[in-house]
Symmetry: C2
Subunit: 328 residues, 2 copies
Protein backbone atom coordinates (compact mmCIF):
# COMPACT_ATOMS: atom_id res chain seq x y z
CA UNK A 1 0.00 0.00 0.00
CA UNK A 2 1.16 3.53 -0.77
CA UNK A 3 0.61 6.38 1.63
CA UNK A 4 -0.39 9.95 0.67
CA UNK A 5 -1.18 13.13 2.55
CA UNK A 6 -4.75 14.30 1.93
CA UNK A 7 -6.36 17.70 2.51
CA UNK A 8 -8.70 16.97 5.41
CA UNK A 9 -10.16 20.48 5.67
CA UNK A 10 -9.44 23.91 4.22
CA UNK A 11 -7.29 26.12 6.47
CA UNK A 12 -8.82 29.32 7.75
CA UNK A 13 -5.89 31.70 8.08
CA UNK A 14 -2.74 29.93 9.25
CA UNK A 15 -2.90 26.18 8.46
CA UNK A 16 -2.46 23.62 11.24
CA UNK A 17 -1.65 19.90 11.25
CA UNK A 18 -5.40 19.22 11.66
CA UNK A 19 -5.87 20.25 8.03
CA UNK A 20 -3.90 17.22 6.85
CA UNK A 21 -4.45 13.46 6.99
CA UNK A 22 -2.11 10.62 6.00
CA UNK A 23 -4.04 7.81 4.36
CA UNK A 24 -3.16 4.53 2.75
CA UNK A 25 -4.14 4.16 -0.88
CA UNK A 26 -3.83 1.22 -3.23
CA UNK A 27 -2.01 2.03 -6.46
CA UNK A 28 -3.49 0.99 -9.80
CA UNK A 29 -1.47 -1.46 -11.92
CA UNK A 30 1.03 0.19 -14.26
CA UNK A 31 -0.59 0.60 -17.67
CA UNK A 32 0.96 1.22 -21.06
CA UNK A 33 2.76 4.56 -21.15
CA UNK A 34 2.89 4.71 -17.35
CA UNK A 35 5.55 4.41 -14.68
CA UNK A 36 5.53 3.58 -10.97
CA UNK A 37 7.72 5.94 -8.95
CA UNK A 38 9.08 5.60 -5.43
CA UNK A 39 9.68 9.11 -4.14
CA UNK A 40 13.04 10.08 -2.63
CA UNK A 41 12.57 13.82 -2.09
CA UNK A 42 9.44 15.96 -1.68
CA UNK A 43 9.15 19.71 -2.08
CA UNK A 44 6.99 21.93 0.12
CA UNK A 45 6.45 25.48 -1.11
CA UNK A 46 4.58 28.60 0.05
CA UNK A 47 2.46 28.68 -3.14
CA UNK A 48 0.73 25.48 -1.95
CA UNK A 49 -1.04 27.54 0.69
CA UNK A 50 -2.99 29.31 -2.05
CA UNK A 51 -4.12 25.98 -3.53
CA UNK A 52 -5.67 25.08 -0.17
CA UNK A 53 -8.23 27.86 -0.61
CA UNK A 54 -11.25 27.18 -2.77
CA UNK A 55 -10.44 29.93 -5.26
CA UNK A 56 -9.45 29.98 -8.88
CA UNK A 57 -5.83 30.88 -9.38
CA UNK A 58 -3.05 29.96 -11.79
CA UNK A 59 -3.27 26.36 -10.55
CA UNK A 60 -6.54 24.67 -9.56
CA UNK A 61 -7.34 24.39 -5.85
CA UNK A 62 -6.69 21.20 -3.89
CA UNK A 63 -9.89 19.33 -3.11
CA UNK A 64 -10.92 18.33 0.42
CA UNK A 65 -10.57 14.55 0.84
CA UNK A 66 -8.16 14.28 -2.09
CA UNK A 67 -4.38 13.78 -2.03
CA UNK A 68 -2.16 16.85 -2.12
CA UNK A 69 0.33 17.36 -4.93
CA UNK A 70 3.71 18.97 -5.31
CA UNK A 71 7.14 18.67 -6.84
CA UNK A 72 9.02 15.45 -6.09
CA UNK A 73 12.10 13.49 -7.14
CA UNK A 74 11.62 9.74 -7.31
CA UNK A 75 13.07 6.57 -8.71
CA UNK A 76 11.30 4.49 -11.35
CA UNK A 77 10.52 1.05 -9.88
CA UNK A 78 8.42 -0.23 -12.76
CA UNK A 79 7.93 1.20 -16.23
CA UNK A 80 5.88 0.55 -19.33
CA UNK A 81 7.02 3.57 -21.27
CA UNK A 82 9.79 4.04 -23.82
CA UNK A 83 12.90 5.65 -22.41
CA UNK A 84 12.10 5.00 -18.74
CA UNK A 85 13.85 2.17 -16.90
CA UNK A 86 13.90 1.04 -13.27
CA UNK A 87 16.47 3.08 -11.37
CA UNK A 88 15.96 6.25 -13.44
CA UNK A 89 15.57 9.37 -11.33
CA UNK A 90 12.67 11.60 -12.37
CA UNK A 91 11.12 14.95 -11.52
CA UNK A 92 7.32 14.98 -11.32
CA UNK A 93 4.34 16.56 -9.51
CA UNK A 94 3.23 13.54 -7.46
CA UNK A 95 4.60 14.72 -4.15
CA UNK A 96 3.11 14.54 -0.62
CA UNK A 97 3.21 10.68 -0.92
CA UNK A 98 5.71 7.85 -0.96
CA UNK A 99 4.77 6.10 -4.16
CA UNK A 100 2.69 6.89 -7.22
CA UNK A 101 1.75 5.72 -10.69
CA UNK A 102 1.93 8.42 -13.33
CA UNK A 103 1.82 8.95 -17.07
CA UNK A 104 5.35 9.08 -18.45
CA UNK A 105 4.39 12.29 -20.22
CA UNK A 106 4.02 14.04 -16.85
CA UNK A 107 7.46 12.89 -15.72
CA UNK A 108 10.88 14.29 -16.63
CA UNK A 109 14.19 12.48 -16.35
CA UNK A 110 16.74 14.61 -14.49
CA UNK A 111 19.15 16.50 -16.75
CA UNK A 112 22.65 15.08 -16.47
CA UNK A 113 24.45 17.93 -14.73
CA UNK A 114 26.37 15.86 -12.21
CA UNK A 115 24.69 17.29 -9.12
CA UNK A 116 22.71 15.77 -6.23
CA UNK A 117 19.16 14.93 -7.37
CA UNK A 118 17.35 17.04 -4.76
CA UNK A 119 18.89 20.17 -6.31
CA UNK A 120 16.29 19.80 -9.07
CA UNK A 121 13.65 20.68 -6.48
CA UNK A 122 15.66 23.70 -5.36
CA UNK A 123 18.42 25.70 -6.96
CA UNK A 124 18.07 23.82 -10.27
CA UNK A 125 14.30 23.46 -10.06
CA UNK A 126 11.28 25.71 -9.80
CA UNK A 127 12.92 27.58 -6.91
CA UNK A 128 16.06 28.45 -8.83
CA UNK A 129 14.15 29.20 -12.02
CA UNK A 130 11.96 31.61 -10.06
CA UNK A 131 15.05 33.45 -8.87
CA UNK A 132 16.67 33.40 -12.30
CA UNK A 133 13.77 34.59 -14.46
CA UNK A 134 12.40 36.91 -11.77
CA UNK A 135 15.67 38.76 -11.25
CA UNK A 136 17.08 38.87 -14.76
CA UNK A 137 13.95 38.92 -16.91
CA UNK A 138 11.00 40.31 -14.90
CA UNK A 139 13.07 42.89 -12.97
CA UNK A 140 15.59 43.44 -15.80
CA UNK A 141 18.33 43.54 -13.15
CA UNK A 142 21.78 44.35 -14.49
CA UNK A 143 25.33 44.89 -13.34
CA UNK A 144 25.64 47.85 -10.99
CA UNK A 145 22.04 47.80 -9.80
CA UNK A 146 21.23 47.97 -6.09
CA UNK A 147 18.96 44.97 -5.49
CA UNK A 148 16.78 44.50 -2.41
CA UNK A 149 15.69 40.89 -1.77
CA UNK A 150 13.20 40.03 0.96
CA UNK A 151 13.17 36.61 2.65
CA UNK A 152 16.78 36.43 1.51
CA UNK A 153 17.46 33.32 3.60
CA UNK A 154 14.53 31.51 1.99
CA UNK A 155 14.50 29.09 -0.90
CA UNK A 156 14.14 31.64 -3.69
CA UNK A 157 15.76 34.56 -1.86
CA UNK A 158 18.99 32.71 -1.13
CA UNK A 159 19.41 31.98 -4.85
CA UNK A 160 18.56 35.58 -5.80
CA UNK A 161 21.29 36.88 -3.48
CA UNK A 162 23.96 34.65 -4.98
CA UNK A 163 22.85 35.14 -8.57
CA UNK A 164 22.80 38.92 -8.16
CA UNK A 165 26.31 38.88 -6.71
CA UNK A 166 27.52 36.61 -9.52
CA UNK A 167 26.19 39.19 -12.00
CA UNK A 168 27.87 42.18 -10.38
CA UNK A 169 25.00 43.75 -8.45
CA UNK A 170 24.95 45.29 -4.97
CA UNK A 171 22.64 43.24 -2.75
CA UNK A 172 20.64 44.13 0.35
CA UNK A 173 18.88 41.11 1.85
CA UNK A 174 16.28 40.97 4.61
CA UNK A 175 15.76 38.05 6.98
CA UNK A 176 14.39 37.39 10.46
CA UNK A 177 16.83 36.69 13.30
CA UNK A 178 20.60 36.67 13.70
CA UNK A 179 21.19 33.16 12.39
CA UNK A 180 19.43 33.80 9.08
CA UNK A 181 21.05 37.19 8.72
CA UNK A 182 24.45 35.54 9.16
CA UNK A 183 23.53 33.06 6.46
CA UNK A 184 22.52 35.84 4.05
CA UNK A 185 25.81 37.59 4.72
CA UNK A 186 27.68 34.35 4.05
CA UNK A 187 25.95 34.12 0.67
CA UNK A 188 27.63 37.36 -0.30
CA UNK A 189 25.01 40.03 0.42
CA UNK A 190 26.57 43.47 0.83
CA UNK A 191 24.06 44.51 3.48
CA UNK A 192 21.67 42.48 5.61
CA UNK A 193 18.69 43.84 7.52
CA UNK A 194 16.95 41.93 10.31
CA UNK A 195 13.25 42.74 10.07
CA UNK A 196 12.72 41.59 13.66
CA UNK A 197 15.01 44.32 14.96
CA UNK A 198 12.76 47.23 13.98
CA UNK A 199 10.75 48.77 11.14
CA UNK A 200 12.02 47.52 7.80
CA UNK A 201 11.69 51.01 6.31
CA UNK A 202 14.23 52.41 8.73
CA UNK A 203 16.73 49.59 8.37
CA UNK A 204 16.45 49.49 4.58
CA UNK A 205 17.01 53.25 4.42
CA UNK A 206 20.20 52.79 6.43
CA UNK A 207 21.36 49.81 4.36
CA UNK A 208 20.65 51.46 0.99
CA UNK A 209 21.11 55.19 1.65
CA UNK A 210 20.95 56.01 -2.07
CA UNK A 211 17.89 53.85 -2.70
CA UNK A 212 17.23 50.69 -4.66
CA UNK A 213 16.98 49.94 -8.37
CA UNK A 214 15.40 46.50 -8.05
CA UNK A 215 13.16 44.84 -5.50
CA UNK A 216 12.66 41.08 -5.57
CA UNK A 217 9.55 40.62 -3.44
CA UNK A 218 8.82 37.41 -1.56
CA UNK A 219 7.03 39.09 1.33
CA UNK A 220 4.70 41.96 0.38
CA UNK A 221 3.31 44.12 3.21
CA UNK A 222 5.77 46.37 5.02
CA UNK A 223 8.69 45.18 2.89
CA UNK A 224 6.95 46.21 -0.32
CA UNK A 225 5.99 49.55 1.20
CA UNK A 226 9.61 50.19 2.22
CA UNK A 227 10.66 49.40 -1.35
CA UNK A 228 8.11 51.94 -2.66
CA UNK A 229 9.55 54.50 -0.26
CA UNK A 230 13.16 53.93 -1.29
CA UNK A 231 12.88 53.17 -5.00
CA UNK A 232 15.16 55.17 -7.27
CA UNK A 233 13.88 56.47 -10.59
CA UNK A 234 12.89 53.71 -13.02
CA UNK A 235 13.09 51.00 -10.34
CA UNK A 236 11.74 47.56 -11.23
CA UNK A 237 9.91 45.31 -8.79
CA UNK A 238 9.53 41.58 -9.50
CA UNK A 239 6.63 40.35 -7.38
CA UNK A 240 7.23 36.68 -6.72
CA UNK A 241 5.36 36.14 -3.47
CA UNK A 242 3.63 37.97 -0.65
CA UNK A 243 3.95 35.47 2.17
CA UNK A 244 3.09 38.19 4.71
CA UNK A 245 -0.44 38.17 3.37
CA UNK A 246 -1.12 34.48 2.69
CA UNK A 247 -2.62 33.81 6.10
CA UNK A 248 -3.60 37.35 7.06
CA UNK A 249 -7.19 38.46 6.43
CA UNK A 250 -6.34 42.15 6.97
CA UNK A 251 -5.81 44.28 3.87
CA UNK A 252 -2.24 45.39 3.23
CA UNK A 253 -1.53 49.06 3.98
CA UNK A 254 0.75 51.18 1.84
CA UNK A 255 1.95 54.65 2.80
CA UNK A 256 4.34 55.05 -0.10
CA UNK A 257 2.60 53.46 -3.08
CA UNK A 258 2.13 56.92 -4.58
CA UNK A 259 5.89 57.01 -5.26
CA UNK A 260 5.14 54.65 -8.15
CA UNK A 261 4.40 57.79 -10.15
CA UNK A 262 7.25 60.15 -9.29
CA UNK A 263 9.86 57.35 -9.40
CA UNK A 264 8.31 55.70 -12.51
CA UNK A 265 8.34 52.34 -10.75
CA UNK A 266 7.51 49.26 -12.80
CA UNK A 267 5.97 46.47 -10.73
CA UNK A 268 5.40 43.11 -12.37
CA UNK A 269 3.92 39.93 -10.93
CA UNK A 270 5.07 36.65 -12.40
CA UNK A 271 4.69 32.89 -12.30
CA UNK A 272 7.71 30.77 -13.07
CA UNK A 273 5.66 28.31 -15.12
CA UNK A 274 5.35 31.01 -17.81
CA UNK A 275 9.07 30.51 -18.48
CA UNK A 276 8.76 26.75 -19.11
CA UNK A 277 9.96 27.14 -22.70
CA UNK A 278 13.23 28.64 -21.49
CA UNK A 279 14.27 25.87 -19.07
CA UNK A 280 17.15 24.79 -21.33
CA UNK A 281 18.67 28.27 -20.98
CA UNK A 282 18.12 28.04 -17.24
CA UNK A 283 19.76 24.61 -16.85
CA UNK A 284 22.74 25.80 -18.88
CA UNK A 285 23.27 29.10 -17.04
CA UNK A 286 22.37 28.03 -13.53
CA UNK A 287 23.99 24.61 -13.93
CA UNK A 288 27.25 26.38 -14.67
CA UNK A 289 26.91 28.64 -11.63
CA UNK A 290 26.15 25.67 -9.37
CA UNK A 291 28.91 23.37 -10.60
CA UNK A 292 31.45 26.21 -10.51
CA UNK A 293 30.52 26.91 -6.90
CA UNK A 294 29.31 30.49 -7.57
CA UNK A 295 25.85 29.50 -6.31
CA UNK A 296 25.49 27.14 -3.34
CA UNK A 297 22.25 25.25 -2.77
CA UNK A 298 20.85 26.15 0.64
CA UNK A 299 18.67 23.36 1.98
CA UNK A 300 16.72 22.52 5.12
CA UNK A 301 15.98 18.80 5.19
CA UNK A 302 13.40 16.99 7.33
CA UNK A 303 13.13 13.22 7.27
CA UNK A 304 10.15 10.99 6.67
CA UNK A 305 6.82 11.25 4.92
CA UNK A 306 5.16 11.76 8.32
CA UNK A 307 6.97 15.11 8.66
CA UNK A 308 5.65 16.63 5.42
CA UNK A 309 2.90 18.83 6.95
CA UNK A 310 5.30 20.07 9.64
CA UNK A 311 7.82 20.95 6.95
CA UNK A 312 5.10 22.85 5.10
CA UNK A 313 3.85 24.67 8.21
CA UNK A 314 7.45 25.57 9.04
CA UNK A 315 7.60 27.71 5.89
CA UNK A 316 5.31 30.23 7.56
CA UNK A 317 7.24 30.23 10.83
CA UNK A 318 10.63 30.86 9.26
CA UNK A 319 11.81 27.30 10.07
CA UNK A 320 13.79 26.94 6.86
CA UNK A 321 16.95 28.42 5.49
CA UNK A 322 17.01 27.90 1.77
CA UNK A 323 14.89 25.24 0.18
CA UNK A 324 12.69 23.17 2.51
CA UNK A 325 12.83 19.48 1.54
CA UNK A 326 11.45 16.21 2.86
CA UNK A 327 13.71 13.17 2.45
CA UNK A 328 12.04 9.74 2.29
CA UNK B 1 2.06 96.36 -12.29
CA UNK B 2 1.59 92.64 -12.89
CA UNK B 3 -0.28 90.44 -10.44
CA UNK B 4 0.70 86.90 -9.43
CA UNK B 5 -0.66 84.30 -7.04
CA UNK B 6 1.87 83.43 -4.31
CA UNK B 7 2.03 80.43 -1.98
CA UNK B 8 1.23 82.03 1.38
CA UNK B 9 1.52 78.83 3.44
CA UNK B 10 1.87 75.12 2.78
CA UNK B 11 -1.44 73.20 2.87
CA UNK B 12 -1.85 70.54 5.51
CA UNK B 13 -4.14 67.98 3.90
CA UNK B 14 -6.78 69.61 1.71
CA UNK B 15 -5.67 73.09 0.56
CA UNK B 16 -7.87 76.13 1.25
CA UNK B 17 -7.97 79.63 -0.19
CA UNK B 18 -5.95 80.79 2.84
CA UNK B 19 -2.90 79.09 1.37
CA UNK B 20 -2.84 81.55 -1.54
CA UNK B 21 -2.22 85.30 -1.83
CA UNK B 22 -2.55 87.58 -4.87
CA UNK B 23 0.22 90.17 -4.90
CA UNK B 24 1.31 92.90 -7.23
CA UNK B 25 4.81 92.61 -8.64
CA UNK B 26 6.77 94.91 -10.88
CA UNK B 27 8.13 93.24 -13.98
CA UNK B 28 11.77 93.70 -15.00
CA UNK B 29 12.47 95.40 -18.33
CA UNK B 30 12.63 92.99 -21.28
CA UNK B 31 16.29 92.06 -21.89
CA UNK B 32 17.93 90.54 -24.93
CA UNK B 33 16.57 87.08 -25.65
CA UNK B 34 13.49 87.76 -23.53
CA UNK B 35 9.82 88.31 -24.17
CA UNK B 36 6.98 89.90 -22.19
CA UNK B 37 3.81 87.81 -22.26
CA UNK B 38 0.24 88.73 -21.40
CA UNK B 39 -1.50 85.55 -20.34
CA UNK B 40 -4.83 84.55 -21.91
CA UNK B 41 -5.36 81.10 -20.41
CA UNK B 42 -4.02 79.45 -17.24
CA UNK B 43 -3.93 75.76 -16.43
CA UNK B 44 -4.60 74.32 -12.98
CA UNK B 45 -3.67 70.67 -12.48
CA UNK B 46 -3.80 68.10 -9.67
CA UNK B 47 -0.01 67.56 -9.80
CA UNK B 48 0.43 71.11 -8.46
CA UNK B 49 -0.80 69.90 -5.07
CA UNK B 50 2.37 67.79 -4.73
CA UNK B 51 4.55 70.83 -5.40
CA UNK B 52 2.94 72.60 -2.45
CA UNK B 53 4.54 70.07 -0.08
CA UNK B 54 8.13 70.61 0.92
CA UNK B 55 9.32 67.32 -0.53
CA UNK B 56 11.57 66.38 -3.41
CA UNK B 57 9.67 64.98 -6.35
CA UNK B 58 9.99 65.05 -10.10
CA UNK B 59 9.54 68.82 -10.02
CA UNK B 60 10.93 71.06 -7.26
CA UNK B 61 8.50 72.22 -4.56
CA UNK B 62 6.90 75.67 -4.64
CA UNK B 63 8.42 78.03 -2.07
CA UNK B 64 6.37 79.86 0.54
CA UNK B 65 6.21 83.59 -0.30
CA UNK B 66 7.10 82.97 -3.94
CA UNK B 67 4.83 83.03 -7.02
CA UNK B 68 3.24 79.78 -8.14
CA UNK B 69 3.90 78.40 -11.61
CA UNK B 70 2.00 76.38 -14.15
CA UNK B 71 1.17 75.96 -17.79
CA UNK B 72 -0.21 79.05 -19.55
CA UNK B 73 -1.04 80.36 -22.99
CA UNK B 74 -0.23 84.02 -23.56
CA UNK B 75 0.35 86.65 -26.19
CA UNK B 76 3.70 88.29 -26.76
CA UNK B 77 3.38 92.01 -26.06
CA UNK B 78 7.06 92.90 -26.31
CA UNK B 79 9.93 90.81 -27.63
CA UNK B 80 13.70 91.04 -27.94
CA UNK B 81 14.20 87.54 -29.28
CA UNK B 82 14.50 86.22 -32.83
CA UNK B 83 11.35 84.61 -34.12
CA UNK B 84 9.01 86.13 -31.52
CA UNK B 85 6.79 89.07 -32.45
CA UNK B 86 4.02 90.94 -30.67
CA UNK B 87 0.75 89.09 -31.16
CA UNK B 88 2.37 85.62 -31.26
CA UNK B 89 0.60 83.09 -29.05
CA UNK B 90 2.94 81.02 -26.88
CA UNK B 91 2.85 78.12 -24.42
CA UNK B 92 4.98 78.57 -21.30
CA UNK B 93 5.18 77.75 -17.57
CA UNK B 94 4.57 81.25 -16.18
CA UNK B 95 1.01 80.65 -15.11
CA UNK B 96 -0.90 81.77 -11.95
CA UNK B 97 -0.30 85.43 -13.04
CA UNK B 98 -1.47 87.91 -15.64
CA UNK B 99 1.80 89.02 -17.12
CA UNK B 100 5.40 87.83 -17.05
CA UNK B 101 8.83 88.32 -18.57
CA UNK B 102 10.52 85.11 -19.65
CA UNK B 103 13.49 83.81 -21.59
CA UNK B 104 12.42 83.00 -25.15
CA UNK B 105 14.08 79.60 -24.71
CA UNK B 106 11.45 78.66 -22.10
CA UNK B 107 8.60 79.63 -24.41
CA UNK B 108 7.10 77.70 -27.33
CA UNK B 109 5.06 79.13 -30.15
CA UNK B 110 1.85 77.19 -30.64
CA UNK B 111 1.97 74.58 -33.43
CA UNK B 112 -0.19 75.64 -36.34
CA UNK B 113 -2.97 73.03 -36.14
CA UNK B 114 -5.91 75.38 -36.69
CA UNK B 115 -7.48 74.85 -33.26
CA UNK B 116 -8.41 77.17 -30.38
CA UNK B 117 -5.29 78.15 -28.42
CA UNK B 118 -6.47 76.84 -25.03
CA UNK B 119 -6.49 73.31 -26.46
CA UNK B 120 -2.71 73.36 -26.07
CA UNK B 121 -3.26 73.36 -22.30
CA UNK B 122 -5.68 70.44 -22.57
CA UNK B 123 -6.31 67.87 -25.24
CA UNK B 124 -3.28 69.00 -27.27
CA UNK B 125 -1.14 69.81 -24.24
CA UNK B 126 0.24 68.02 -21.23
CA UNK B 127 -3.23 66.65 -20.45
CA UNK B 128 -3.71 65.04 -23.84
CA UNK B 129 -0.12 63.82 -24.00
CA UNK B 130 -0.60 62.14 -20.61
CA UNK B 131 -3.62 60.28 -21.98
CA UNK B 132 -1.89 59.41 -25.23
CA UNK B 133 1.44 58.11 -23.93
CA UNK B 134 -0.09 56.56 -20.81
CA UNK B 135 -2.69 54.54 -22.67
CA UNK B 136 -0.78 53.53 -25.78
CA UNK B 137 2.79 53.35 -24.53
CA UNK B 138 2.83 52.75 -20.75
CA UNK B 139 -0.22 50.45 -20.71
CA UNK B 140 0.42 49.04 -24.21
CA UNK B 141 -3.34 49.20 -24.82
CA UNK B 142 -4.42 47.76 -28.14
CA UNK B 143 -7.54 47.09 -30.18
CA UNK B 144 -9.92 44.69 -28.42
CA UNK B 145 -8.67 45.40 -24.90
CA UNK B 146 -11.14 46.12 -22.09
CA UNK B 147 -9.91 49.42 -20.63
CA UNK B 148 -10.97 50.77 -17.24
CA UNK B 149 -10.43 54.53 -16.79
CA UNK B 150 -10.98 56.23 -13.46
CA UNK B 151 -11.94 59.90 -13.21
CA UNK B 152 -13.18 59.46 -16.75
CA UNK B 153 -14.90 62.85 -16.76
CA UNK B 154 -11.68 64.58 -15.76
CA UNK B 155 -9.12 66.31 -17.93
CA UNK B 156 -6.96 63.27 -18.68
CA UNK B 157 -9.68 60.64 -18.28
CA UNK B 158 -12.02 62.25 -20.80
CA UNK B 159 -9.27 62.11 -23.43
CA UNK B 160 -8.39 58.50 -22.53
CA UNK B 161 -12.02 57.44 -23.07
CA UNK B 162 -12.19 59.00 -26.54
CA UNK B 163 -8.74 57.87 -27.61
CA UNK B 164 -9.46 54.28 -26.51
CA UNK B 165 -12.71 54.25 -28.46
CA UNK B 166 -10.98 55.73 -31.52
CA UNK B 167 -8.50 52.84 -31.32
CA UNK B 168 -11.13 50.09 -31.08
CA UNK B 169 -11.10 49.30 -27.36
CA UNK B 170 -13.98 48.56 -25.00
CA UNK B 171 -14.11 51.28 -22.35
CA UNK B 172 -15.45 51.32 -18.79
CA UNK B 173 -15.23 54.75 -17.19
CA UNK B 174 -15.84 55.78 -13.59
CA UNK B 175 -17.06 59.18 -12.46
CA UNK B 176 -18.94 60.71 -9.53
CA UNK B 177 -22.57 61.73 -9.99
CA UNK B 178 -25.14 61.44 -12.73
CA UNK B 179 -24.09 64.51 -14.70
CA UNK B 180 -20.50 63.37 -15.08
CA UNK B 181 -21.55 59.82 -15.84
CA UNK B 182 -23.76 61.14 -18.62
CA UNK B 183 -20.81 63.06 -19.99
CA UNK B 184 -18.59 59.96 -19.97
CA UNK B 185 -21.29 58.04 -21.79
CA UNK B 186 -21.55 60.84 -24.36
CA UNK B 187 -17.79 60.51 -24.97
CA UNK B 188 -18.41 56.98 -26.15
CA UNK B 189 -17.69 54.83 -23.10
CA UNK B 190 -19.34 51.40 -23.35
CA UNK B 191 -20.04 51.25 -19.61
CA UNK B 192 -20.05 53.94 -16.95
CA UNK B 193 -19.91 53.37 -13.20
CA UNK B 194 -20.85 56.01 -10.65
CA UNK B 195 -18.51 55.56 -7.69
CA UNK B 196 -20.90 57.53 -5.48
CA UNK B 197 -23.62 54.91 -5.95
CA UNK B 198 -21.78 52.11 -4.09
CA UNK B 199 -18.51 50.23 -3.78
CA UNK B 200 -16.50 50.58 -6.98
CA UNK B 201 -15.50 46.91 -6.80
CA UNK B 202 -19.09 45.80 -7.11
CA UNK B 203 -20.01 48.18 -9.90
CA UNK B 204 -16.85 47.49 -11.88
CA UNK B 205 -17.46 43.74 -11.61
CA UNK B 206 -20.93 44.28 -13.06
CA UNK B 207 -19.67 46.59 -15.81
CA UNK B 208 -16.77 44.33 -16.83
CA UNK B 209 -17.96 40.81 -16.01
CA UNK B 210 -15.01 39.24 -17.83
CA UNK B 211 -12.45 41.52 -16.23
CA UNK B 212 -10.15 44.23 -17.53
CA UNK B 213 -6.98 44.20 -19.62
CA UNK B 214 -5.91 47.76 -18.95
CA UNK B 215 -6.39 50.17 -16.06
CA UNK B 216 -5.64 53.86 -16.55
CA UNK B 217 -5.38 55.09 -12.95
CA UNK B 218 -6.08 58.69 -12.02
CA UNK B 219 -7.46 57.91 -8.57
CA UNK B 220 -5.60 55.16 -6.65
CA UNK B 221 -7.24 53.84 -3.47
CA UNK B 222 -10.40 51.78 -3.87
CA UNK B 223 -10.36 52.15 -7.66
CA UNK B 224 -6.89 50.65 -7.90
CA UNK B 225 -7.87 47.85 -5.53
CA UNK B 226 -10.92 47.04 -7.67
CA UNK B 227 -8.66 46.91 -10.72
CA UNK B 228 -6.36 44.45 -8.91
CA UNK B 229 -9.41 42.33 -8.11
CA UNK B 230 -10.72 42.27 -11.68
CA UNK B 231 -7.54 42.22 -13.74
CA UNK B 232 -7.32 39.54 -16.40
CA UNK B 233 -4.07 37.70 -17.02
CA UNK B 234 -1.26 39.96 -18.22
CA UNK B 235 -3.21 43.15 -17.44
CA UNK B 236 -1.31 46.43 -17.65
CA UNK B 237 -1.90 49.35 -15.28
CA UNK B 238 -0.69 52.85 -16.21
CA UNK B 239 -0.48 54.82 -12.97
CA UNK B 240 -0.97 58.45 -13.87
CA UNK B 241 -2.33 59.91 -10.65
CA UNK B 242 -3.73 58.94 -7.26
CA UNK B 243 -5.88 61.93 -6.45
CA UNK B 244 -7.66 59.95 -3.70
CA UNK B 245 -4.44 60.05 -1.68
CA UNK B 246 -3.12 63.55 -2.34
CA UNK B 247 -4.83 65.12 0.66
CA UNK B 248 -5.39 62.00 2.76
CA UNK B 249 -2.87 61.18 5.47
CA UNK B 250 -4.20 57.61 5.91
CA UNK B 251 -2.29 54.81 4.18
CA UNK B 252 -4.07 53.21 1.24
CA UNK B 253 -5.48 49.74 1.89
CA UNK B 254 -5.41 46.98 -0.69
CA UNK B 255 -7.26 43.70 -0.32
CA UNK B 256 -6.45 42.41 -3.79
CA UNK B 257 -2.88 43.50 -4.45
CA UNK B 258 -1.79 39.85 -4.18
CA UNK B 259 -3.52 39.20 -7.51
CA UNK B 260 -0.54 40.96 -9.09
CA UNK B 261 1.16 37.57 -8.99
CA UNK B 262 -1.51 35.15 -10.22
CA UNK B 263 -2.68 37.54 -12.96
CA UNK B 264 0.88 38.65 -13.87
CA UNK B 265 -0.17 42.29 -13.63
CA UNK B 266 2.28 44.92 -14.82
CA UNK B 267 1.87 48.24 -13.04
CA UNK B 268 3.89 51.20 -14.24
CA UNK B 269 4.02 54.75 -12.94
CA UNK B 270 4.84 57.50 -15.41
CA UNK B 271 5.40 61.20 -15.86
CA UNK B 272 4.43 62.77 -19.15
CA UNK B 273 7.56 64.93 -19.24
CA UNK B 274 9.57 61.76 -19.97
CA UNK B 275 7.91 61.70 -23.38
CA UNK B 276 9.00 65.24 -24.35
CA UNK B 277 11.06 63.95 -27.26
CA UNK B 278 7.97 62.40 -28.85
CA UNK B 279 5.74 65.48 -28.86
CA UNK B 280 5.90 65.74 -32.67
CA UNK B 281 4.33 62.27 -32.92
CA UNK B 282 1.71 63.38 -30.38
CA UNK B 283 0.80 66.61 -32.19
CA UNK B 284 0.49 64.69 -35.45
CA UNK B 285 -1.64 61.83 -34.11
CA UNK B 286 -3.76 63.73 -31.62
CA UNK B 287 -4.04 66.78 -33.87
CA UNK B 288 -5.61 64.54 -36.49
CA UNK B 289 -8.06 63.05 -33.97
CA UNK B 290 -9.07 66.51 -32.73
CA UNK B 291 -9.49 68.17 -36.12
CA UNK B 292 -11.42 65.15 -37.46
CA UNK B 293 -13.79 65.37 -34.49
CA UNK B 294 -12.93 61.89 -33.12
CA UNK B 295 -11.72 63.49 -29.90
CA UNK B 296 -13.58 66.46 -28.42
CA UNK B 297 -11.89 68.77 -25.96
CA UNK B 298 -13.85 68.80 -22.72
CA UNK B 299 -13.29 72.04 -20.81
CA UNK B 300 -14.51 73.74 -17.66
CA UNK B 301 -13.71 77.45 -17.84
CA UNK B 302 -13.65 79.95 -14.96
CA UNK B 303 -13.03 83.62 -15.60
CA UNK B 304 -10.52 86.00 -14.10
CA UNK B 305 -7.15 85.74 -12.42
CA UNK B 306 -8.87 86.16 -9.04
CA UNK B 307 -10.61 82.78 -9.55
CA UNK B 308 -7.41 80.76 -10.03
CA UNK B 309 -7.20 79.26 -6.50
CA UNK B 310 -10.90 78.37 -6.59
CA UNK B 311 -10.38 76.63 -9.92
CA UNK B 312 -7.48 74.69 -8.43
CA UNK B 313 -9.39 73.76 -5.26
CA UNK B 314 -12.31 72.65 -7.41
CA UNK B 315 -10.15 69.89 -8.89
CA UNK B 316 -10.35 68.06 -5.56
CA UNK B 317 -14.09 68.56 -5.24
CA UNK B 318 -14.96 67.22 -8.66
CA UNK B 319 -15.93 70.70 -9.89
CA UNK B 320 -14.56 70.14 -13.39
CA UNK B 321 -15.56 68.07 -16.32
CA UNK B 322 -12.60 67.75 -18.63
CA UNK B 323 -9.78 70.23 -18.46
CA UNK B 324 -10.07 72.99 -15.83
CA UNK B 325 -9.01 76.35 -17.30
CA UNK B 326 -8.85 79.97 -16.18
CA UNK B 327 -9.57 82.55 -18.86
CA UNK B 328 -8.07 86.03 -18.38
Amino acid sequence: MARAWHLKSRPNGMPTSDNFELKETSLPPVGDGQVRIRNRWLSVDPYMRGRMNDVKSYVPPFQVGEPLEGGAIGEIVEGKADGFNPGDLVLHMGGWRDETVASARAVNKLPNLGVDPQKFLGVLGVTGATAYFGLLDVASAKQGDVVFVSAAAGAVGSVVVQLAKARGMTVVGSAGGREKCDLVRSLGADQVVDYREGPILKSLAAAAPEGIDVYFDNVGGDHLDAAFALARNNARFAICGMIAGYNDPKPAEFRFIMRVIAARIRLQGFIVFDFQSRMDEFYREMGQLVTSGAVHAQETVVDGLESTPDAFLGLFQGANTGKMLVRL
